[in-house]
């Protein structure tokens, strides 16, 4: 069934709203996986890449509802397909959640993190559109995506801290993953403050939003693959 998504998502290249069919099927697959394993399907690369693709798709629809066929779709849809391909290539984790992950704090932490990542992705897409066409509304859309993403990411981190305090007796650990998570937080904080500096708006700040997504992807995938951390389950 997941293969069908590779046919449905590209329909959005013709018209943005056609992504609804892909999102409906994708949501059903995520729900089915949740029912099958009795847990939120957000463990391991297979689950999380798929959920990230779905979240980007949902954000793409909300922010592009009125858009006709343009580079907004030409950039976002291949990104979604790339993430889906990564999800299919990664092994799926079967079975229930490890006991330490059975808490609402963990579920909220993970869901909000990936929704924030999706918004950061769209922020980067709008940044590229601004660099291509120089339209002010693309810059404003980047700002809105990144502001919302930053708030959700902050809440996700706070929820993660609460969970860690209950699980391990500390809300912060000195590990590469935590440092990179803080790097993401600082980076988008930097972006939001840089926008307020007189004379710094425009291309240079838009670039910060684009680079931010590269940092996000490294924090998500790169740190886990290259460095040992507390986020290995």
């Amino acid at each position: 069934m997941e293969i069908t998504l590779f046919i449905l998502y590209p329909l959005a290249l013709y018209r943005t709203r056609l992504i609804l069919a892909a999102l409906a099927l994708h949501a059903a697959l995520i729900a089915a996986s949740a029912v099958k394993y009795g847990r939120i399907p957000l463990i391991g690369l297979h689950d999380t890449l798929g959920f990230l693709a779905f979240s980007i798709g949902a954000a793409y629809l909300i922010f592009g509802w009125k858009r006709l066929r343009d580079w907004y779709s030409y950039i976002t849809i291949p990104l979604i397909l790339l993430l889906l391909a990564g999800s299919l290539a990664a092994p799926q984790m079967h079975g229930p959640l490890p006991p330490v992950l059975k808490t609402l704090w963990f579920e909220l932490h993970v869901i909000l993190s990936f929704v924030a990542y999706a918004l950061f992705a769209l922020g980067a897409v709008f940044g590229v559109l601004f660099l291509m066409h120089g339209r002010k509304e693309d810059e404003a859309d980047q700002y809105r995506n990144l502001l919302l993403g930053y708030v959700l990411f902050s809440i996700a981190m706070i929820f993660g801290g609460i969970w860690a305090y209950y699980a391990w007796g500390t809300y912060w650990l000195w590990t590469p993953k935590e440092l990179w998570t803080t790097i993401v937080w600082f980076w988008y904080g930097l972006y939001l403050h840089a926008r307020l500096v007189r004379g710094w708006s425009g291309r240079s700040v838009v670039w910060l939003g684009i680079i931010g997504f590269v940092i996000v992807m490294f924090t998500y995938a790169g740190v886990g693959l290259l460095m040992k951390s507390s986020h290995e389950f």
Binding site: Y143, A167, T170, T175
Partner: protein
């Protein structure tokens, strides 16, 4: 000098410096576990005194980050004080106060880290079933009465729990069951079941920790969420 601390550019460059320093730190950590591993096992001030200050060629990024955080703290306080000065009108009250609430939340989080780094305690060790751990801080002792573990048909651990008795001044003061995400709290002290073994005899790896910063971290988190969500709503409309 005041202009420097009041400048948004100071904020931006300091955040960039922190990003660079944390990047360096994250790449050093995996290759020098003997230095950075103990950061999480003991109070940070003790780690700084015993290890970090003697291995400065490996820990310089950490001290650099501390200096940057001090600068960011001063910058945040000065900017917030400046922002709340002057006349207030009902019309832009929320727009003016929300960023300051976010800043206060951030400062509370930093304060939490400072308090947690220097005060409180962290002790961990294996305790066998039926044994008592004496000599805990604040004249307390811990007795592990029973350890239970459940597995599903495939042998996957479904859950585990440890029943403990906490004593203070030789008097039992609290009885509780520890488990995953289920510590036992008493007067700001938390007792955690970190892992366990059933062979050769049932024993639990327990952590006894007191972090006076935790409550500040929670308060900071709540303020940060309140301020940033308010700001989001206001800025969203504006954008």
């Amino acid at each position: 000098m005041k202009t420097f601390f009041l400048s948004l550019k100071t904020t931006v460059w300091t955040l960039l410096a922190l990003v660079c320093l944390f990047f360096i730190g994250s790449s050093m950590m995996p290759t020098h576990r003997e230095i950075f591993g103990p950061m999480n096992d003991r109070l940070l001030f003790h780690w700084i005194g015993d290890m970090a200050s003697e291995q400065v060629w490996l820990t310089w990024w950490f001290f650099g980050a501390l200096a940057a955080l001090v600068l960011l703290t001063i910058n945040t306080i000065v900017c917030s004080l400046q922002a709340i000065k002057g006349r207030w009108s009902r019309k832009d009250f929320l727009l003016r106060i929300a960023p300051q609430v976010v800043h206060m939340g951030f400062l509370f989080m930093l304060l939490a880290h400072l308090l947690g780094a220097g005060w409180g305690y962290k002790l961990s060790g294996m305790l066998a079933e039926g044994m008592m751990a004496t000599g805990l801080p604040e004249n307390r002792a811990l007795y592990l009465r029973e350890l239970r573990a459940e597995a599903d048909a495939s042998g996957f651990p479904r859950g585990w729990s440890a029943e403990v008795f906490l004593y203070e001044n030789n008097q039992p003061v609290k009885i509780g069951s520890l488990g995953p995400n289920r510590p036992l709290f008493y007067k700001g002290m938390g007792i955690y079941l970190k892992s366990f073994e059933l062979q050769p005899r049932p024993a639990a790896l327990l952590l006894v920790a007191k972090d006076p910063g935790a409550i500040w971290a929670l308060a900071g988190g709540i303020l940060f969420i309140l301020g940033s969500v308010t700001l989001l709503v206001l800025k969203w409309k504006k954008a």
